[in-house]
Point group: C2
Chain length 309, copies 2
């Protein structure tokens, strides 16, 4: 049983290293850190205990990798244009892809690339970042909410492939929660992502600061309400009080920089397309205008372009 990690960064590197450490055969695709990782392995600093993998199966190009049973995709969504050339080479025909990204719409694209594969989406509640070449720092959290993509558009339920992947991750010490409806799970995560990610960049603020000012807290609440409206328009009715729960959970978190803020600070392209425009478009296709989210997305586009210029 072979595992591939496509994108060995703060997310893929962390989870892939946990799998490898627990004895699974993991093949890591790297880009900038390839040579370094091939020489030195991977170093994980973690609140659960530091560890290193002194030698890993490191690859600089997908065609050099063996066909794998499970491919964990943890590229930045801005690099997803590479998937069409990577995945068919790396995933066995009836293999499984686990997409560890936020946003919307990517599972359908992967399913189209791999007509017989199982496609699973994973929503990570993870606070980690790259601290240096092949060096990942895990600060907090680490659970994943996983659901299977349904090729017929409905809820896939809890499938055999989903249970298998969850079991493997569980053995590696990763807490996995199963979702029978991936679409709904993605919209639930968007309630958090579309509010905190964008506002944290535009207002240059960690979550605690956004929650401690009445104006920014109101904006968070407004955008959450809008996302819940968009979810409903798309057929996913979120539970009463869902936003309130999420606000309360965020208030209890440590000062947190959402991934988009970390990307912005590192000068990386922001995942505006999958986290903002895809859900905005999905809601609009169902007659619901997400105007506040669209305004935030445009502000992010401006800031992103100028940040990278």
């Amino acid at each position: 049983m072979k595992f591939a990690v496509i994108g060995t960064g703060a997310v893929g590197g962390y989870y892939g290293a946990l799998l490898a450490r627990h004895g699974f055969e993991v093949h890591f695709l790297l880009h900038g850190d390839f040579e370094y990782a091939k020489e030195n392995g991977l170093l994980i600093e973690s609140k659960n205990g530091d560890f290193s993998l002194e030698s890993i199966n490191a690859y600089g190009r997908a065609p050099d990798m063996p066909p794998c049973d499970v491919a964990i995709v943890a590229l930045k969504a801005t690099q997803n244009h590479q998937l069409a050339s990577i995945l068919p080479a790396v995933v066995k025909k009836k293999g499984t892809v686990v997409l560890l990204q936020n946003g919307l719409g990517v599972e359908a694209e992967i399913a189209a690339m791999l007509p017989e594969a199982a496609v699973i989406g994973g929503l990570c509640f993870l606070c980690s970042h790259k601290a240096g070449p092949a060096h990942i720092r895990h600060l907090d959290y680490g659970s994943i909410r996983m659901g299977q993509f349904s090729r017929d558009g409905g809820a896939a339920g809890i499938t055999e492939e989903l249970r298998f992947v969850a079991d493997v991750f569980g053995k590696a010490g990763i807490q996995v929660y199963l979702a029978d409806n991936l679409g709904k799970a993605r919209w639930e995560k968007l309630v958090w992502n579309m509010s905190y990610n964008g506002l944290s960049v535009v207002l240059n603020a960690t979550t605690d600061r956004l929650m401690n000012d009445p104006a920014s807290e109101t904006l968070v609440e407004q955008i959450m309400a809008e996302v819940i409206g968009g979810a409903g328009a798309c057929g996913f009715v979120l539970a009463d009080g869902f936003a309130r729960q999420m606000l309360a959970a965020t208030e209890k978190m440590v000062a947190y920089s959402p991934s988009m803020k970390l990307d912005f600070e590192a000068g990386r392209e922001l995942e505006i397309h999958t986290i903002y425009w895809r859900p905005i478009q999905a809601a609009a296709d169902n007659g619901y205008e997400m105007q506040a989210a669209a305004m935030l997305a445009r502000q992010l586009e401006y800031l992103d372009r100028n940040n990278r210029a």
Copy 2:
């Protein structure tokens, strides 16, 4: 004929100095620069030619000023709570107040403080800033659009008081355009102010950069359209193509930092209340929700509080 300048800064200091230089009797109320200006007068660096007033009638407290025929109010709107104690002491009972501020709703407050005075609103197209104590740098433009406040709520038309003030300013070399409907003129200025002021702060961008990026240009256009909608709800139907004209005029301008951006950079409190919340409330009172402007206003509130903390 005595003139008072209430707030001798980038706006009041500039226009007041022009009046004084042309022989009018001007009494300047200052705050932080009082002692310095009393000793050294005022220095105006201007694209139209530098000049200085070696000695001015400088006052640190309103009660020390003589009753004046015309009071030019050029405080930051965030200081308007001082007007109730200043104006009755400084303006003759049947005198005239010329309010040189952006935003909405202040003339009505002044009219209530001075039941027999004429109240004129002036919208300045001026690029100037304080360069040092009693030292003003005039970079560009300088015209004022003036209209009279009507106590009965309609258009005041071109009144005798308005012509008189325009004539005085004109003698001092200041280009004045008359507006027969101050309410409409204020909303027209808000089309510019509510879009460029807020976005320039939130996106940390001068007007040229806002116009040169498709995302920020779209935001400018959206907010302009919303302000025009708000104006219409309040009974002020702006001309077809008004926004387009304003966009074109702004594109022809030099790289420009709106006053709110200058305030932000100087750590001064932003004029969010008069430039955003007052028009948003006026539109809401007439059944029109300015949601984009409200979102921008909340972002500004967060940034303003943190900027001054």
